[in-house]
């Protein structure tokens, strides 16, 4: 975990960080599992991630323009949401690359060949938001291309927030496998550990204070 950038600002809390934007989208991470339809195989999604054109990852790419092109056929509210996400992701390199890779997956449906079974464009914005704000802050998108586990994590997250199960998996299986890969869950645990440590330091300091050392009047022996 030490090789990951820390999305947390110093002093705890999420502050104005990419992860904050994910929670601001107010997507329900529990109920999403009840809404899934059969989807393409995990391998297909991972292979397409690996074959992402460098142009999508370039610093100079305009996410809003890219989203407009890729999602030209999507419903209006999806395009509007995707544009807002793209605009927010643009300034942050990890989020920008994460959003761009999500857009590449959607674009590949036309540029390479359609996913089978097909994706549903009504889910496009949530899948872009998930890769940009939920995964990219804790697992840099360059690693999605170089590291098998992280690539699988990205592919599973993309399918989940596209409303699709990996081919051949039922919900319990997909969920268990996702939870094993989920960097954020593991990072949240880390965050809890950090909070525990802060708590311990606070208690030790309180116990050591001269005010605490004066103790309180007692009434019996124990």
């Amino acid at each position: 975990m030490t090789d990951r950038p820390d999305p947390r600002p110093a002093g705890g809390g999420l502050g104005d960080q990419p992860l904050r934007r994910w929670f601001d989208l107010r997507l329900d991470e529990v109920r999403v599992w009840d809404a899934l339809a059969p989807g393409p195989s995990l391998d297909v999604v991972q292979t397409r991630l690996s074959s992402a054109p460098q142009a999508f990852l370039a610093d100079a790419v305009s996410l809003v323009a890219l989203a407009g092109d890729v999602l030209a056929g999507a419903p209006d509210h999806v395009r509007a949401s995707a544009a807002a996400i793209a605009a927010e992701a643009q300034p942050d390199p990890a989020s920008r690359q994460g959003a761009a890779l999500a857009l590449w997956l959607w674009a590949s449906d036309e540029l390479l060949e359609p996913f089978d079974p097909p994706l549903d464009a009504r889910w496009a914005h949530s899948s872009i938001g998930a890769l940009a704000f939920r995964l990219a802050p804790v697992a840099p998108p360059r690693r999605w291309l170089s590291d098998d586990d992280t690539r699988e994590e990205a592919a599973r997250l993309f399918l989940l927030w596209s409303g699709r199960l990996p081919a051949g998996e039922d919900v319990p299986t997909a969920r268990a496998r996702w939870e094993r890969r989920d960097s954020l869950a593991r990072d949240a645990a880390l965050r809890e550990l950090v909070a525990d440590e802060e708590h311990r330091r606070r208690i030790q300091a309180a116990l050591a204070e001269k005010r605490a050392a004066e103790a309180a009047a007692r009434y019996s022996h124990e």
Binding site: A195, I203, L207, K210, R218, E222
Partner: protein, 493 residues
Amino acid sequence: MSEADARISDPAAPRSATEPIADIVLPHYVPGSTVALSDEERWPGLAPHDRDRLEAVLAHPAAPVWRHRVGHRLAADGVARARTELPADDWLPGHLAVARALPAYRALRGSDDAGLRELDDFPLISRRDLAADVAGFVPRDADLGRLVQGSSSGSTGAALLLPDDTEDVARTFWLVRRLLAGLGVDWQPDARRLALALVVHQRQAFTYASPIPGFAGDVVTDADAAGPHAPGAAAAGPGIMARLNLDARDWPVADRVAFLRAHDPQVISGNPSSLATLLEPDTAAAVAPLAIVSGALHLTAPLRAALEARFGVPVLDLYGLHETRPIAWRADDGPFRVLDTRVRVEVADDAGRMLAPDAEGATPRGELVVTAGSNPLLPLVRYRTGDHGRLVLRDGAPAIADLEGREHVDFVTADGAPINTVDLTQYLQDAGALAWSLTQRLDGSVLARIAGGDAPAAARRIHALLGVPVEVDAVPRPIDLGEGKPRRYLREG
């Protein structure tokens, strides 16, 4: 120097030519060395009249050297909460929920808390766990404004710093008062008397006086006008408690007697060796308590009998650990009744396996394991006390029989057979011993240091049981066995 500091006397300036000067003054016992608060913080909202009463106790000509200035720290709302017992109906599930979330259990509970659902899922913890990570046992949402330092010396090892909760500490007073009321003791505030004397017997000790939160005029009734120590009607005012050191090296006996006679404490609380000092004739004649409370150490049956005979009042024996708060009580020599507060007692064998009670609620003998929810800053689940005993039912409720302290060991006979020291306790008590310290040496022989009673008779029976040489060292008083918590039984090896 502030007014508060000025009132704490200087140990280097003896009040009389006959008073010994402390030869060793530990840093913490230098008067005022731990003073950090103002009086308003110690006793929020203390009325001028109440302050006068406190100052009168502090300024008494025969008062001890006050080594500490300490209060209850509670404002009116905190006092009201401290006077109210925490509800104990079905308290365990909520307690386990609090414990489950403790940082100390993070690795055990798993991502969905599945690891620690029921009491049986919780591992045994011990003093060592608290020593290593006491802060991990404090809830993350605890009110640190109520945290004060508690110190538990235990029988071995370094003192352990514990987070005490000011309201919980004060609540203990009201618990003691309720238990005494159940024994028929009508303990009402009486401004002419010290409400409580907490007595110790140590070379050096913290001494202080403080109003007892909430124990004031609104519960005053007429005192017993017939008693020689309580003529006339009770006066309204705050109940004051004082922590007093009965060691003559620290407080001349003449001063002790004069102070106690003047302030006539209603209730006297202490450990057995300091309570034994009360039996000294001049001291005993100076006090007329409503009740006596013993804690911290084993109160032997002969010492209880001596206190009851001398003062003619109930002697409440309270069993508890600083870590857990009060656990059980008795007012006779029967089993300790487990309190009806947020405390639960179980028994574990030497391997740490829980021993289930049988149909009669009884368990075999083992280590007492306590789940305690009185102190909100230190909710404990399955804490190994280090003390031994067995659970029985007393009047249909759980009680602890054959309670032995954490020094519990088996002695061995000349043939190498183990002998439970409970048997030795029986012999010593039958011989009238007030206290003792028995050491079985590597060669099997026993050194028996015995305070009071018929020491040779006790030694003869110990010799008959063990079949090993028994050397007797009879001492006059329990305190002569040593300060603090002298081991009652020790086996070398």
